[in-house]
Protein backbone atom coordinates (compact mmCIF):
# COMPACT_ATOMS: atom_id res chain seq x y z
CA UNK A 1 0.00 0.00 0.00
CA UNK A 2 1.06 3.56 -0.75
CA UNK A 3 2.81 5.05 2.35
CA UNK A 4 0.78 8.25 2.07
CA UNK A 5 -2.44 6.24 2.04
CA UNK A 6 -1.26 4.26 5.07
CA UNK A 7 -0.52 7.46 6.91
CA UNK A 8 -3.91 9.00 6.11
CA UNK A 9 -5.70 5.80 7.14
CA UNK A 10 -3.75 5.72 10.42
CA UNK A 11 -4.78 9.27 11.30
CA UNK A 12 -8.42 8.63 10.34
CA UNK A 13 -8.49 5.62 12.70
CA UNK A 14 -6.76 7.58 15.48
CA UNK A 15 -9.15 10.54 15.24
CA UNK A 16 -12.06 8.12 14.91
CA UNK A 17 -11.10 6.42 18.16
CA UNK A 18 -10.65 9.82 19.83
CA UNK A 19 -14.18 10.94 18.72
CA UNK A 20 -15.67 7.62 19.76
CA UNK A 21 -14.04 7.75 23.21
CA UNK A 22 -15.29 11.30 23.77
CA UNK A 23 -18.79 10.46 22.52
CA UNK A 24 -19.26 7.51 24.90
CA UNK A 25 -17.55 9.39 27.78
CA UNK A 26 -14.58 7.06 28.16
CA UNK A 27 -12.92 10.16 29.63
CA UNK A 28 -14.17 13.51 30.86
CA UNK A 29 -14.73 16.24 28.22
CA UNK A 30 -13.13 18.76 30.61
CA UNK A 31 -9.87 16.81 30.86
CA UNK A 32 -9.61 15.64 27.26
CA UNK A 33 -11.98 17.45 24.88
CA UNK A 34 -13.34 15.84 21.72
CA UNK A 35 -11.85 16.55 18.25
CA UNK A 36 -14.91 18.67 17.45
CA UNK A 37 -14.35 21.08 20.35
CA UNK A 38 -10.64 21.30 19.45
CA UNK A 39 -11.56 22.22 15.88
CA UNK A 40 -14.10 24.75 17.17
CA UNK A 41 -11.55 26.54 19.34
CA UNK A 42 -9.00 26.50 16.50
CA UNK A 43 -11.57 28.04 14.12
CA UNK A 44 -12.55 30.61 16.75
CA UNK A 45 -8.88 31.47 17.38
CA UNK A 46 -8.21 31.90 13.69
CA UNK A 47 -11.34 33.95 12.93
CA UNK A 48 -10.71 36.41 15.77
CA UNK A 49 -7.05 36.54 14.58
CA UNK A 50 -5.51 35.75 18.00
CA UNK A 51 -3.85 32.57 16.76
CA UNK A 52 -2.64 34.36 13.61
CA UNK A 53 -1.02 37.11 15.69
CA UNK A 54 0.48 34.40 17.92
CA UNK A 55 1.96 32.63 14.92
CA UNK A 56 3.40 35.87 13.53
CA UNK A 57 4.89 36.81 16.89
CA UNK A 58 6.40 33.35 17.43
CA UNK A 59 7.88 33.20 13.95
CA UNK A 60 9.34 36.66 14.29
CA UNK A 61 11.22 35.60 17.44
CA UNK A 62 12.27 32.36 15.81
CA UNK A 63 13.56 34.13 12.70
CA UNK A 64 15.61 36.62 14.72
CA UNK A 65 16.92 34.01 17.18
CA UNK A 66 17.67 31.32 14.62
CA UNK A 67 19.47 33.74 12.25
CA UNK A 68 21.71 34.95 15.06
CA UNK A 69 22.26 31.34 16.20
CA UNK A 70 23.29 30.27 12.68
CA UNK A 71 25.72 33.17 12.30
CA UNK A 72 27.35 32.73 15.73
CA UNK A 73 27.29 28.94 15.39
CA UNK A 74 29.04 29.05 12.01
CA UNK A 75 31.68 31.45 13.35
CA UNK A 76 32.41 29.28 16.39
CA UNK A 77 32.35 26.13 14.24
CA UNK A 78 34.94 27.53 11.82
CA UNK A 79 37.10 28.68 14.75
CA UNK A 80 37.15 25.31 16.52
CA UNK A 81 37.65 23.43 13.25
CA UNK A 82 40.66 25.55 12.34
CA UNK A 83 42.37 26.06 15.71
CA UNK A 84 43.44 23.07 17.79
CA UNK A 85 43.65 25.19 20.94
CA UNK A 86 40.11 26.53 20.42
CA UNK A 87 38.87 22.99 19.84
CA UNK A 88 40.49 21.71 23.05
CA UNK A 89 38.97 24.52 25.11
CA UNK A 90 35.82 26.00 23.52
CA UNK A 91 35.02 22.71 21.77
CA UNK A 92 34.99 20.79 25.05
CA UNK A 93 32.79 23.45 26.65
CA UNK A 94 30.31 23.31 23.73
CA UNK A 95 29.78 19.59 24.27
CA UNK A 96 28.90 20.29 27.90
CA UNK A 97 26.68 23.27 27.04
CA UNK A 98 24.85 21.31 24.35
CA UNK A 99 23.65 18.78 26.91
CA UNK A 100 22.03 21.56 28.96
CA UNK A 101 18.47 22.27 27.68
CA UNK A 102 18.53 25.95 26.77
CA UNK A 103 15.34 26.67 28.76
CA UNK A 104 17.29 26.32 32.03
CA UNK A 105 18.95 29.62 31.10
CA UNK A 106 15.58 31.43 31.35
CA UNK A 107 15.88 32.49 35.04
CA UNK A 108 19.21 34.13 34.23
CA UNK A 109 17.90 35.57 30.97
CA UNK A 110 14.93 37.17 32.78
CA UNK A 111 17.33 38.71 35.31
CA UNK A 112 19.53 40.08 32.55
CA UNK A 113 16.94 41.21 30.00
CA UNK A 114 13.69 41.42 32.00
CA UNK A 115 10.51 39.42 31.47
CA UNK A 116 10.22 40.27 27.79
CA UNK A 117 10.89 39.21 24.25
CA UNK A 118 14.66 39.61 24.55
CA UNK A 119 14.84 36.87 27.17
CA UNK A 120 12.96 34.46 24.88
CA UNK A 121 15.12 35.31 21.87
CA UNK A 122 18.20 34.71 24.03
CA UNK A 123 16.91 31.19 24.81
CA UNK A 124 16.23 30.55 21.12
CA UNK A 125 19.78 31.64 20.22
CA UNK A 126 21.27 29.33 22.84
CA UNK A 127 19.08 26.51 21.54
CA UNK A 128 20.48 26.68 18.00
CA UNK A 129 24.05 27.93 18.33
CA UNK A 130 25.84 24.94 19.83
CA UNK A 131 24.45 22.27 17.54
CA UNK A 132 25.23 24.47 14.51
CA UNK A 133 28.80 25.04 15.71
CA UNK A 134 29.43 21.32 16.25
CA UNK A 135 28.07 20.42 12.81
CA UNK A 136 30.15 23.08 11.05
CA UNK A 137 33.21 21.75 12.87
CA UNK A 138 32.48 18.17 11.71
CA UNK A 139 31.84 19.38 8.16
CA UNK A 140 35.11 21.28 7.86
CA UNK A 141 37.13 18.49 9.48
CA UNK A 142 35.68 15.91 7.10
CA UNK A 143 36.48 17.69 3.82
CA UNK A 144 38.19 15.15 1.56
CA UNK A 145 41.99 15.73 1.56
CA UNK A 146 41.88 14.99 -2.18
CA UNK A 147 39.78 18.14 -2.81
CA UNK A 148 42.33 20.20 -0.91
CA UNK A 149 45.28 18.64 -2.76
CA UNK A 150 43.59 19.17 -6.13
CA UNK A 151 42.79 22.81 -5.31
CA UNK A 152 46.37 23.46 -4.15
CA UNK A 153 47.79 22.17 -7.44
CA UNK A 154 45.53 24.73 -9.12
CA UNK A 155 47.09 27.57 -7.19
CA UNK A 156 44.46 27.94 -4.46
CA UNK A 157 45.54 28.45 -0.86
CA UNK A 158 44.66 30.31 2.34
CA UNK A 159 41.35 32.17 2.39
CA UNK A 160 40.68 31.44 -1.28
CA UNK A 161 40.98 27.72 -0.53
CA UNK A 162 38.60 28.06 2.41
CA UNK A 163 36.01 30.07 0.50
CA UNK A 164 36.04 28.10 -2.75
CA UNK A 165 36.69 24.54 -1.55
CA UNK A 166 36.53 23.86 2.19
CA UNK A 167 33.28 25.71 2.88
CA UNK A 168 31.30 24.45 -0.15
CA UNK A 169 32.60 20.92 0.50
CA UNK A 170 31.07 21.03 3.97
CA UNK A 171 27.62 22.21 2.78
CA UNK A 172 25.98 18.83 3.63
CA UNK A 173 26.91 19.37 7.27
CA UNK A 174 25.80 23.01 7.10
CA UNK A 175 22.35 21.82 6.01
CA UNK A 176 22.18 19.18 8.77
CA UNK A 177 23.37 21.75 11.31
CA UNK A 178 20.69 24.20 10.18
CA UNK A 179 17.98 21.54 10.41
CA UNK A 180 18.98 20.54 13.93
CA UNK A 181 19.41 24.19 14.99
CA UNK A 182 15.86 24.89 13.74
CA UNK A 183 14.49 21.90 15.69
CA UNK A 184 16.29 22.88 18.91
CA UNK A 185 15.33 26.56 18.52
CA UNK A 186 11.68 25.72 17.86
CA UNK A 187 11.49 23.68 21.10
CA UNK A 188 13.36 26.39 23.02
CA UNK A 189 10.98 29.04 21.66
CA UNK A 190 7.88 27.16 22.82
CA UNK A 191 9.36 26.52 26.26
CA UNK A 192 10.46 30.13 26.57
CA UNK A 193 7.05 31.51 25.55
CA UNK A 194 5.31 29.14 27.90
CA UNK A 195 7.21 30.63 30.80
CA UNK A 196 7.27 34.31 29.79
CA UNK A 197 5.01 36.81 28.03
CA UNK A 198 2.95 37.05 24.85
CA UNK A 199 1.83 37.20 22.23
CA UNK A 200 3.02 33.84 20.94
CA UNK A 201 1.87 30.23 20.60
CA UNK A 202 3.52 29.13 23.84
CA UNK A 203 2.01 32.04 25.75
CA UNK A 204 -1.49 31.30 24.42
CA UNK A 205 -1.02 27.69 25.49
CA UNK A 206 -0.36 28.72 29.07
CA UNK A 207 -3.12 31.36 28.99
CA UNK A 208 -5.60 28.71 27.83
CA UNK A 209 -4.37 26.37 30.53
CA UNK A 210 -4.84 29.05 33.21
CA UNK A 211 -8.47 29.39 32.12
CA UNK A 212 -8.99 25.63 31.91
CA UNK A 213 -9.58 25.77 28.14
CA UNK A 214 -8.17 22.32 27.31
CA UNK A 215 -9.54 22.29 23.77
CA UNK A 216 -7.42 25.36 22.92
CA UNK A 217 -4.41 23.75 24.68
CA UNK A 218 -4.70 20.70 22.42
CA UNK A 219 -5.34 22.93 19.39
CA UNK A 220 -2.11 24.89 19.98
CA UNK A 221 -0.18 21.66 20.60
CA UNK A 222 -1.40 20.38 17.24
CA UNK A 223 -0.31 23.63 15.51
CA UNK A 224 3.16 23.36 17.10
CA UNK A 225 3.52 19.72 16.01
CA UNK A 226 2.25 20.26 12.48
CA UNK A 227 4.56 23.24 11.87
CA UNK A 228 7.51 21.26 13.25
CA UNK A 229 6.78 18.27 11.02
CA UNK A 230 6.16 20.36 7.89
CA UNK A 231 9.36 22.37 8.21
CA UNK A 232 11.45 19.30 8.98
CA UNK A 233 10.06 16.89 6.41
CA UNK A 234 8.95 19.11 3.56
CA UNK A 235 11.79 21.60 3.70
CA UNK A 236 14.91 20.40 5.46
CA UNK A 237 14.86 16.69 4.69
CA UNK A 238 14.29 17.44 1.01
CA UNK A 239 17.20 19.87 0.87
CA UNK A 240 19.35 17.39 2.79
CA UNK A 241 18.55 14.59 0.32
CA UNK A 242 19.24 16.76 -2.72
CA UNK A 243 22.54 17.98 -1.33
CA UNK A 244 23.63 14.47 -0.32
CA UNK A 245 22.89 13.19 -3.82
CA UNK A 246 24.78 15.99 -5.52
CA UNK A 247 27.73 15.81 -3.14
CA UNK A 248 27.96 12.08 -3.90
CA UNK A 249 27.12 10.98 -0.37
CA UNK A 250 24.25 8.63 -1.13
Amino acid sequence: MNPLLKRILFFVILIGFWSFGSAVNLWSEVLFPSPLSVINSLVAGITDMTLIYDLIASFRRLAIGLSIALIIGTAIGVLIAKSKTADDTIGAMLLALQSVPSIVWLPLAIMWFGLNEKAVIFIVILGGTFVMALNIRTGIKNVSPLFIKAARTMGSSGFDLFLRVIFPASIPHVVTGTRLAWAFSWRALMAGELLSTGPGLGYTLRYASDFGDMSLVIGVMIIIGVIGAIVDQLIFQRIEKNVARRWGLS
Partner: protein, 256 residues
Protein backbone atom coordinates in the same frame (compact mmCIF):
# COMPACT_ATOMS: atom_id res chain seq x y z
CA UNK B 1 67.06 20.63 -19.48
CA UNK B 2 63.38 21.25 -18.69
CA UNK B 3 62.96 19.32 -15.43
CA UNK B 4 65.86 18.09 -13.32
CA UNK B 5 65.77 16.02 -10.17
CA UNK B 6 69.05 15.67 -8.30
CA UNK B 7 69.95 13.39 -5.39
CA UNK B 8 66.37 13.25 -4.16
CA UNK B 9 65.71 11.39 -0.90
CA UNK B 10 62.46 11.04 0.98
CA UNK B 11 62.09 9.56 4.44
CA UNK B 12 59.04 9.14 6.62
CA UNK B 13 59.10 8.46 10.33
CA UNK B 14 56.19 6.53 11.82
CA UNK B 15 54.63 6.97 15.29
CA UNK B 16 57.35 4.89 16.98
CA UNK B 17 60.03 7.13 15.52
CA UNK B 18 61.09 4.42 13.06
CA UNK B 19 62.50 6.04 9.95
CA UNK B 20 61.76 4.40 6.62
CA UNK B 21 63.27 5.48 3.33
CA UNK B 22 60.70 5.86 0.58
CA UNK B 23 62.85 7.31 -2.16
CA UNK B 24 66.64 7.03 -2.43
CA UNK B 25 69.05 8.80 -4.77
CA UNK B 26 66.56 9.73 -7.44
CA UNK B 27 68.21 11.48 -10.38
CA UNK B 28 66.18 12.32 -13.45
CA UNK B 29 66.30 14.76 -16.34
CA UNK B 30 63.34 15.43 -18.57
CA UNK B 31 63.30 17.26 -21.89
CA UNK B 32 60.52 19.63 -22.81
CA UNK B 33 57.67 17.90 -24.63
CA UNK B 34 58.66 14.41 -23.51
CA UNK B 35 56.06 11.85 -22.44
CA UNK B 36 57.61 9.94 -19.55
CA UNK B 37 56.12 7.02 -17.66
CA UNK B 38 57.20 6.19 -14.14
CA UNK B 39 56.60 2.47 -13.80
CA UNK B 40 56.90 0.34 -10.69
CA UNK B 41 55.18 -2.04 -8.29
CA UNK B 42 52.97 -0.59 -5.57
CA UNK B 43 54.97 0.79 -2.67
CA UNK B 44 57.93 1.92 -4.77
CA UNK B 45 57.25 5.57 -4.01
CA UNK B 46 56.30 6.58 -7.55
CA UNK B 47 53.24 8.50 -6.37
CA UNK B 48 55.29 10.17 -3.63
CA UNK B 49 57.80 11.25 -6.26
CA UNK B 50 55.02 12.82 -8.34
CA UNK B 51 53.58 14.51 -5.26
CA UNK B 52 57.01 16.00 -4.46
CA UNK B 53 57.29 17.35 -8.02
CA UNK B 54 53.77 18.82 -7.66
CA UNK B 55 54.92 20.57 -4.50
CA UNK B 56 52.34 18.85 -2.29
CA UNK B 57 54.95 16.86 -0.34
CA UNK B 58 58.39 18.05 0.65
CA UNK B 59 61.56 16.07 -0.04
CA UNK B 60 63.96 15.19 2.78
CA UNK B 61 66.99 15.92 0.61
CA UNK B 62 67.71 16.89 -2.96
CA UNK B 63 66.71 19.44 -5.55
CA UNK B 64 63.96 19.68 -8.12
CA UNK B 65 64.11 22.39 -10.73
CA UNK B 66 61.74 23.35 -13.51
CA UNK B 67 63.69 25.37 -16.07
CA UNK B 68 66.29 26.15 -13.42
CA UNK B 69 63.80 27.37 -10.78
CA UNK B 70 63.68 25.25 -7.61
CA UNK B 71 60.28 23.92 -6.55
CA UNK B 72 58.98 24.21 -2.99
CA UNK B 73 55.21 24.63 -3.29
CA UNK B 74 52.40 23.86 -5.76
CA UNK B 75 52.14 26.17 -8.76
CA UNK B 76 50.13 26.65 -11.89
CA UNK B 77 53.14 25.64 -14.00
CA UNK B 78 52.45 22.04 -12.91
CA UNK B 79 48.98 20.57 -13.44
CA UNK B 80 48.02 17.35 -11.70
CA UNK B 81 45.50 14.61 -12.45
CA UNK B 82 44.85 12.13 -9.64
CA UNK B 83 43.63 8.54 -9.71
CA UNK B 84 40.20 9.78 -8.63
CA UNK B 85 38.82 12.69 -10.66
CA UNK B 86 38.62 14.97 -7.56
CA UNK B 87 36.01 17.16 -9.26
CA UNK B 88 34.12 19.54 -7.00
CA UNK B 89 30.53 18.22 -6.77
CA UNK B 90 29.01 21.67 -6.15
CA UNK B 91 30.30 22.99 -9.49
CA UNK B 92 29.12 22.08 -12.99
CA UNK B 93 31.53 20.48 -15.47
CA UNK B 94 32.32 23.86 -17.02
CA UNK B 95 32.72 25.58 -13.63
CA UNK B 96 35.09 22.83 -12.53
CA UNK B 97 37.32 23.47 -15.53
CA UNK B 98 37.09 27.23 -14.85
CA UNK B 99 38.24 26.71 -11.24
CA UNK B 100 41.98 27.36 -11.83
CA UNK B 101 41.16 30.32 -14.12
CA UNK B 102 39.20 32.38 -11.55
CA UNK B 103 42.04 34.60 -10.42
CA UNK B 104 43.43 35.57 -13.82
CA UNK B 105 41.53 37.28 -16.60
CA UNK B 106 37.86 37.91 -17.24
CA UNK B 107 35.00 35.48 -16.74
CA UNK B 108 34.20 35.41 -20.45
CA UNK B 109 37.79 34.44 -21.30
CA UNK B 110 37.71 31.73 -18.65
CA UNK B 111 34.44 30.36 -20.00
CA UNK B 112 35.78 30.28 -23.52
CA UNK B 113 38.98 28.56 -22.43
CA UNK B 114 37.08 25.99 -20.38
CA UNK B 115 34.76 25.25 -23.29
CA UNK B 116 37.74 24.77 -25.61
CA UNK B 117 39.48 22.32 -23.31
CA UNK B 118 36.24 20.41 -22.78
CA UNK B 119 35.94 20.20 -26.55
CA UNK B 120 39.44 18.72 -26.60
CA UNK B 121 38.29 15.87 -24.34
CA UNK B 122 35.03 15.62 -26.36
CA UNK B 123 32.73 16.73 -23.58
CA UNK B 124 31.34 19.93 -25.08
CA UNK B 125 27.81 18.52 -24.75
CA UNK B 126 28.12 18.17 -20.98
CA UNK B 127 29.09 21.73 -19.94
CA UNK B 128 26.19 22.21 -17.55
CA UNK B 129 26.07 18.69 -16.12
CA UNK B 130 27.16 18.05 -12.57
CA UNK B 131 29.90 15.49 -11.78
CA UNK B 132 27.46 12.97 -10.27
CA UNK B 133 25.49 12.95 -13.53
CA UNK B 134 28.36 11.68 -15.73
CA UNK B 135 30.36 8.42 -15.83
CA UNK B 136 33.74 7.80 -14.17
CA UNK B 137 35.58 7.96 -17.50
CA UNK B 138 33.92 11.27 -18.36
CA UNK B 139 34.77 12.64 -14.91
CA UNK B 140 38.42 11.78 -15.46
CA UNK B 141 38.34 13.57 -18.83
CA UNK B 142 36.96 16.66 -17.09
CA UNK B 143 39.83 16.40 -14.59
CA UNK B 144 42.31 16.31 -17.50
CA UNK B 145 40.63 19.34 -19.12
CA UNK B 146 40.79 21.14 -15.76
CA UNK B 147 44.51 20.48 -15.38
CA UNK B 148 45.14 21.60 -18.98
CA UNK B 149 43.02 24.74 -18.63
CA UNK B 150 45.61 26.57 -16.55
CA UNK B 151 48.08 25.84 -19.35
CA UNK B 152 50.78 24.16 -17.22
CA UNK B 153 54.26 23.47 -18.58
CA UNK B 154 54.24 20.06 -16.95
CA UNK B 155 51.31 17.67 -16.64
CA UNK B 156 51.60 15.22 -13.74
CA UNK B 157 49.33 12.18 -13.91
CA UNK B 158 49.08 9.77 -10.98
CA UNK B 159 47.60 6.48 -12.32
CA UNK B 160 44.80 8.54 -13.91
CA UNK B 161 43.13 5.57 -15.61
CA UNK B 162 43.69 3.04 -12.83
CA UNK B 163 40.09 3.01 -11.66
CA UNK B 164 38.51 2.71 -15.12
CA UNK B 165 37.36 -0.32 -17.09
CA UNK B 166 39.46 -1.70 -19.95
CA UNK B 167 37.49 -0.24 -22.89
CA UNK B 168 37.30 3.22 -21.36
CA UNK B 169 41.02 3.11 -20.56
CA UNK B 170 41.94 2.19 -24.14
CA UNK B 171 39.83 5.06 -25.50
CA UNK B 172 41.38 7.52 -23.07
CA UNK B 173 44.91 6.37 -24.04
CA UNK B 174 44.23 7.44 -27.62
CA UNK B 175 42.69 10.73 -26.48
CA UNK B 176 45.63 11.49 -24.18
CA UNK B 177 48.11 10.73 -26.96
CA UNK B 178 46.27 13.16 -29.24
CA UNK B 179 46.17 15.84 -26.56
CA UNK B 180 49.88 15.42 -25.94
CA UNK B 181 50.62 15.66 -29.67
CA UNK B 182 48.43 18.79 -30.07
CA UNK B 183 49.47 20.69 -26.93
CA UNK B 184 53.14 19.55 -26.79
CA UNK B 185 52.98 19.33 -23.00
CA UNK B 186 55.63 17.56 -20.99
CA UNK B 187 53.90 14.66 -19.26
CA UNK B 188 54.96 12.59 -16.26
CA UNK B 189 52.68 9.59 -16.08
CA UNK B 190 52.75 7.26 -13.07
CA UNK B 191 51.47 3.74 -13.69
CA UNK B 192 51.92 0.14 -12.63
CA UNK B 193 50.86 -1.20 -16.03
CA UNK B 194 53.74 -2.14 -18.34
CA UNK B 195 51.50 -2.15 -21.43
CA UNK B 196 50.16 1.30 -20.62
CA UNK B 197 53.65 2.73 -20.27
CA UNK B 198 54.86 1.19 -23.53
CA UNK B 199 51.79 2.34 -25.42
CA UNK B 200 52.08 5.98 -24.35
CA UNK B 201 55.59 7.09 -23.51
CA UNK B 202 58.86 8.19 -25.07
CA UNK B 203 60.77 7.02 -22.01
CA UNK B 204 59.98 4.59 -19.23
CA UNK B 205 61.55 5.06 -15.81
CA UNK B 206 61.42 1.66 -14.09
CA UNK B 207 61.44 1.90 -10.32
CA UNK B 208 62.32 -0.68 -7.70
CA UNK B 209 60.92 -0.89 -4.23
CA UNK B 210 62.12 -0.64 -0.60
CA UNK B 211 63.68 1.82 -0.91
CA UNK B 212 62.33 3.37 -4.13
CA UNK B 213 65.17 3.72 -6.62
CA UNK B 214 65.42 4.07 -10.38
CA UNK B 215 66.32 0.69 -11.87
CA UNK B 216 66.32 1.55 -15.54
CA UNK B 217 65.66 4.41 -17.92
CA UNK B 218 64.37 2.93 -21.16
CA UNK B 219 63.86 4.84 -24.40
CA UNK B 220 60.88 3.61 -26.39
CA UNK B 221 61.76 3.86 -30.04
CA UNK B 222 58.74 2.06 -31.47
CA UNK B 223 56.98 4.41 -33.89
CA UNK B 224 53.47 5.62 -33.19
CA UNK B 225 50.71 4.50 -33.25
CA UNK B 226 52.19 1.73 -31.20
CA UNK B 227 49.26 -0.68 -31.69
CA UNK B 228 50.59 -1.32 -35.22
CA UNK B 229 53.79 -2.84 -33.80
CA UNK B 230 52.44 -5.46 -31.44
CA UNK B 231 55.55 -7.66 -31.72
CA UNK B 232 58.01 -4.95 -30.74
CA UNK B 233 55.75 -3.91 -27.86
CA UNK B 234 55.74 -7.49 -26.64
CA UNK B 235 59.56 -7.74 -26.75
CA UNK B 236 59.93 -4.58 -24.71
CA UNK B 237 57.33 -5.83 -22.26
CA UNK B 238 59.42 -8.99 -21.68
CA UNK B 239 62.52 -6.86 -21.12
CA UNK B 240 60.82 -4.65 -18.52
CA UNK B 241 59.26 -7.70 -16.89
CA UNK B 242 62.74 -9.09 -16.07
CA UNK B 243 63.52 -5.91 -14.09
CA UNK B 244 60.24 -5.99 -12.23
CA UNK B 245 60.32 -9.74 -11.55
CA UNK B 246 63.45 -9.31 -9.43
CA UNK B 247 61.61 -6.63 -7.45
CA UNK B 248 58.51 -8.72 -6.96
CA UNK B 249 60.67 -11.70 -5.84
CA UNK B 250 62.40 -9.38 -3.38
CA UNK B 251 59.07 -8.28 -1.91
CA UNK B 252 57.86 -11.87 -1.60
CA UNK B 253 61.15 -12.98 0.01
CA UNK B 254 60.89 -10.14 2.56
CA UNK B 255 57.33 -11.01 3.42
CA UNK B 256 58.05 -14.71 4.07
Amino acid sequence: MFLTIQQLNKQFSDQNGQVSTILKDINLSVNEGEFISILGPSGCGKSTLLSIIAGLTSATEGKIKVEGTPISSPGKDRGMVFQEPALFPWLSVKENVMFPLKSDGSKIDAEEKATNYLKMVQLSNYLDHYPHEISGGMQQRVAIARALAMDPRLLLMDEPFGALDEQTRTRLHTQLENIWRDTKKTILFVTHSITESIKLSDRIIVMGTRPGTILADIKVTISRPREDHKEKMFELEEEIMTYLKKEIDKVIAEEN
